[in-house]
Subunit: 308 residues, 2 copies
């Protein structure tokens, strides 16, 4: 007969994998984790909840990849602020039918990515139920020298950049993407970033967040949008462009900066991934897409939104 | 035709209810919230996930009370450390079938309790799906003068106290309880607390956490356990005692302190709720229950655990 395996056994297993290494942390094993923050820093907080059937499905995702994604999307939020991740709290609703090996596999995916980005797992909440897998991560980051980058700093005349390539994140990229933590830190050291966001809902939709919070508009150049080769070459250029503009979960960085700083990045890209200028911030409060024939269309916000 | 209501509409509604009032917070509306922590403080972090069917059921709970409970259990974790709550991040998986009024009602329960305890809602993640309601709260607290109370400080000879009365938290108390934030702050100012925990899994189970982390044992006096009148008077005294020892979700405080400080509390209770001495910490590594006839039994850890 199998010995029963309870939440405290899983917590014990997690503790064994996660030695307390950060000096300013008192750590796991109490009602709350305790952090003695470094002086003169900004602390960053974010949370994301991932649900089986919505953000991942089995068996196209493995439990490891579902766990990995739950931490990765939170790391992407910290990257969007040009922050350094510090620690995370993990909440799980585990399907009872799947047993302890499944629970460990989900946690293994989280632990491996946490180790890769030196994130300390400092606590959480483990539950089981008859429902599907739900994973919530709450993450704590630190902005080096308090230089976090907000959505609200875009200025008319700013150049608009994206990292990497866009579109076609389903079926695999959304589970395996690299959160742009290191890229954001390097960019923030190299140039003066005015605004930044990570692309989770889709370029058009996430651009609108920057425009709204900064009270500005934008003109994008359709010919410059970096279309991912994850998108099928069977599709027309028009379909591929549309998907690069609207597909969600690319988890690349969208940022704006002065033309001088933009030229510096184009002259010498400090990253090992592509950087592309895709347009300019304008003072007119609309988002415009300029086509090769010179015509212009308004960018419709067609990104993903949960209807309630 | 009903206008469709999306996650961003709900976020807009939440923002309108939650003005940014804390000076050290840059706030809602970015990829992460930003906090400039006060100098020389300890920061406290906890998270709890509540699932429909496990932690609450409809219609015996209302959506407001489900939301309220999700924040209240997190406040109870901050209370267990004698911390002051600061801010919280809310993640929701909302059942699509229930519509926007249900979503607002869940948030209203959270917002009302947040206002009562001056907790700022600084961010979150709103999702909808075909599954049941899941609410995750991640909470940030501050330990005044860095005097947080851990589970690990109990010492042989310490007196063991509980606040309030125990048992019978179902069907209503677990939805309506007052998190013992203010009581913990007053106790920590009045006497020197050696260890503390909140009673979520049941007295016997939660006491074991203190004993394990402190490497000590305990002797409880069965006649002193404060049995709640929420427990039916139809039950025998023995059944009522058993339930006071093992029922979960009382969310009272269990703490230990020196006999001198314990006498001070018995002479002059600084709280407006009952304080009861229920036993003593011993150096033998077992938890013992002493009965009126002088006999002793080992306290079995029969508290609630999620089987995986």
């Amino acid at each position: 007969m199998a010995t029963s395996f309870h939440e405290f056994d899983l917590i014990q297993w997690i503790r064994a994998q996660c030695p307390n290494s950060k000096a300013n942390l008192i750590g796991i094993g109490d009602d709350t984790a305790i952090l003695q923050p470094p002086l003169n820093c900004e602390l960053l907080f974010a949370t994301d909840m991932l649900m089986e059937g919505t953000h991942f499905t089995f068996p196209s995702a493995t439990p490891e990849r579902a766990g990995r994604k739950a931490l990765a999307v939170n790391l992407s939020d910290i990257a969007a602020m040009a922050g350094r991740p510090h620690s995370a709290l993990i909440s799980l609703a585990l399907p009872k039918s799947k047993g302890p090996e499944f629970a460990k596999a989900v946690m293994q995916g989280i632990i491996d990515l946490a180790n890769e980005f030196q994130v300390q797992l400092i606590g959480g909440d483990t539950n089981s139920w008859d429902g599907p897998l739900v994973i919530n991560v709450a993450i704590i980051g630190i902005a080096p020298e308090s230089k976090s980058i907000k959505r609200s700093g875009a200025m008319p005349g700013d150049w608009i950049f994206v990292t990497g390539e866009l579109g076609g994140s389903l079926p695999a990229h959304h589970l395996t993407f690299t959160p742009r933590i290191n890229e954001a830190l390097i960019l923030n050291q190299t140039v003066s970033l005015n605004s930044m966001i990570d692309l989770s809902d889709g370029l058009t939709s996430d651009l609108q967040h920057i425009l709204r919070e900064s009270n500005v508009g934008a003109i994008l150049d359709a010919t410059t949008i970096p279309i991912s080769n994850r998108l099928s070459s069977d599709d027309s250029n028009q379909v591929r462009l549309k998907r690069a503009l609207s597909d969600g979960e690319d988890f690349e960085l969208l940022f704006t900066l002065s033309p001088e700083d933009g030229k510096q990045l184009l002259n010498q890209n400090p990253l090992s991934i592509n950087l592309t200028q895709i347009g300019e911030i304008s003072s007119r409060l609309t988002a415009i897409l300029q086509h090769p024939d010179g015509s212009q269309t308004t960018l419709e916000d067609s990104g993903w939104k949960h209807e309630l």
